[in-house]
Symmetry: C2
Subunit: 335 residues, 2 copies
DNA sequence: TCCTAGCCTGCAAGCGCTGTCATGAAGGCA
DNA sequence: TGCCTTCATGACAGCGCTTGCAGGCTAGGA
């Protein structure tokens, strides 16, 4: 900055004021400083400015994973929005128990970011408490946190509409498949299941425990086993609703391998509208992942700027049923 | 830090020395300081330390995208490795032309990271030059940069082996499909095509220009058109080799929609081993995305620590042919 | 012409650390 | 016992910026 000042023939204070767009700089000076800065392709040392302002110009994102489609999409919604806000993106990916313990123990984000976006992260009460005394605004993304700014979709309502869709097609035996989530890492699928069950109840159908399945090892052979179990029931389901598209893809593969026609014999419905859902022709409930990211940044800016009155704001984004080829009326007439 | 010092009854200098693991601290003092730091869950203000050391403890990653499977996987290889190195991960996602111009114009990473990892980014000479006077170590990931530390796979060799596999199955008419890459955004597919053509030549087959296709709008209807064009050739291909798995997935969908059996009528081979390749049963060439990320971090650490003699190091990772269900001998006898 | 009010600009303190240098304590040796 | 060495610790300057304050300059009114 000293260099820029010298080149422009002004003091560093003036350079600083100019670069931050403060109005107390005359037009001619401003022009000269901007020219000098450009010629030297000066970029501010954020460390120095944050030391004095207490603002880092950086936002931290806590993620349970970096490989999932959803998180990638959410991030890609955040990135340009952050850039527009002049904020940088710091990523903390915490995938295993060890990293997790370490993160909450050391809280490395402390003082190194202006806000923490917690994305799809099922927190224990202790962890929640730790974050609270992080001394940093929190924004919860793709999860609802009572009394805290959060961005999410109404999973229960979406699942309700999904199941209704299946009911409207004439299905009466509808199974619900979820991941067996021992680690408690991802956000819970409880609301989706709740919505599903509510739709059944509304339609006067008694939920059957045998039709709610947690699938262990769903990335491996677990899905084949689950399919076998479901279809060998004395009154097998004619439709399968999965907690996520990822699960649905494996399900589709398992059904293909077992030579069970979709939607001829069973219908399949996913949840997410993963990029591949279109390719696979999967009927699903779309959640606007990119928009969730964008909205999260909007909320974050509000929280950082302390434009108060909205601490504790919530943004609920809409989901949409996307009918494609994996759902159809059941093969046998409704009983 | 002052707080910790007071609580431990020592000076800030001692706290600093302790926390950085310098040896000139007595065991008793060390224990006391560590206890105090833990109790206050003190986290260092990196801004302050970087101001004096010139090290930020942060590594920037420049990506053309955040939604692609490959980049997610590479990032998820980097994240734990960086954490182990005590480095934070700063993400610059530059997806459109405007952002791109802005990035290379302002070079926001300057002085805000200890190194820049350039991932899958086809740089213009000007951009390359800009990065060079960024005054920051560069590491090229998933792309080869002569004279610069880089991590990559041998695309040409991999494609060569892929095409050989098809040749061995008896195919003689093999098409190569690539994305129509107007923007020059992603790394070029030149080497993959080169490998493919080399394999053909090796086998004594004259490459046919009509069998090398750039597919515009491949995420939309472009693929259906391309399939139509190829299969209406007077001597249509019996195998299709795509530049990426993503392309192969769309191809598979287009073939399915056109009722063309795979591998009954045509074989399909991808490149990447995308997570979904297993689900789709796609034969492909696996590149170790996660390991690429890890290796990039290894190189980065070496470059930052200036453990010299290895500026200019290259890591070439192996690819592997993964035969699955989309490749088989051609339907008609070899002519 | 002098005074006052604005506008711009520069000066200097200090943000939270690190690293150099100085200091003090403890121990070894003659 | 006295002197020198070694080790552990503290004091302090300064990293590159921001910001409150002071001061200089210009213009307008009396």
């Amino acid at each position: 900055m000293a260099e820029v000042a010298q080149r422009a023939g002004v003091s560093v204070s003036t350079v600083s004021r100019t670069l931050r767009g403060l109005s107390t700089v005359s037009d001619t000076t401003r022009a000269r400083v901007e020219a000098a800065a450009r010629e030297l392709s000066f970029a501010i040392t954020r460390s120095a400015s944050s030391l004095v302002t207490g603002r880092t110009g950086r936002v931290a994102v806590l993620l349970p994973d970096l490989e999932s489609w959803f998180l990638g999409a959410a991030l890609s919604g955040m990135a340009p929005a952050l850039r527009d806000a002049g904020l940088e993106l710091l990523v903390y990916s915490v995938t295993d128990v060890h990293e997790r313990a370490d993160f909450f123990d050391r809280l490395p984000a402390r003082r190194n970011a202006d806000a923490l976006l917690v994305v799809s992260f099922a927190l224990s009460p202790t962890e929640r408490a730790r974050l609270d005394d992080l001394g940093m605004p929190l924004v919860f993304v793709s999860q609802h946190a009572p009394g805290r700014p959060s961005v999410y979709v109404d999973d229960e309502d979406a699942a309700l509409r999904g199941t209704r869709h299946l009911l409207n097609l004439g299905h009466r035996r509808i199974a619900f498949l979820q991941t067996a989530d021992g680690t408690g890492f991802t956000w819970s699928s409880k609301s989706r299941l709740a919505g599903h069950l509510r739709a059944l109840t509304e339609a006067g159908i008694e939920p059957d425990d045998a039709l709610v399945l947690s699938v262990p090892d769903w990335k491996g052979n677990g899905m084949a086993a689950a399919v076998g179990r479901l279809l060998s029931l004395q009154d097998p389901p004619t439709a399968l609703f999965t907690e996520t598209d990822d699960l649905a893809f494996r399900l589709l593969a398992a059904l293909r391998d077992a030579n069970i026609p979709v939607p001829g014999r069973v219908s399949v419905m996913g949840f997410d509208d993963h990029v591949m859902a279109g390719v696979m022709g999967l009927t699903t409930l779309a959640q606007p992942a990119v928009e969730i990211g964008r909205a999260a940044v909007r909320l974050t800016r509000a929280v950082i700027d302390g434009s108060d009155g909205d601490h504790q704001r919530h943004i609920v984004l809409p989901t949409e049923l996307v009918p494609r080829g994996t759902t159809a009326p059941p093969p046998a007439p409704v009983r």
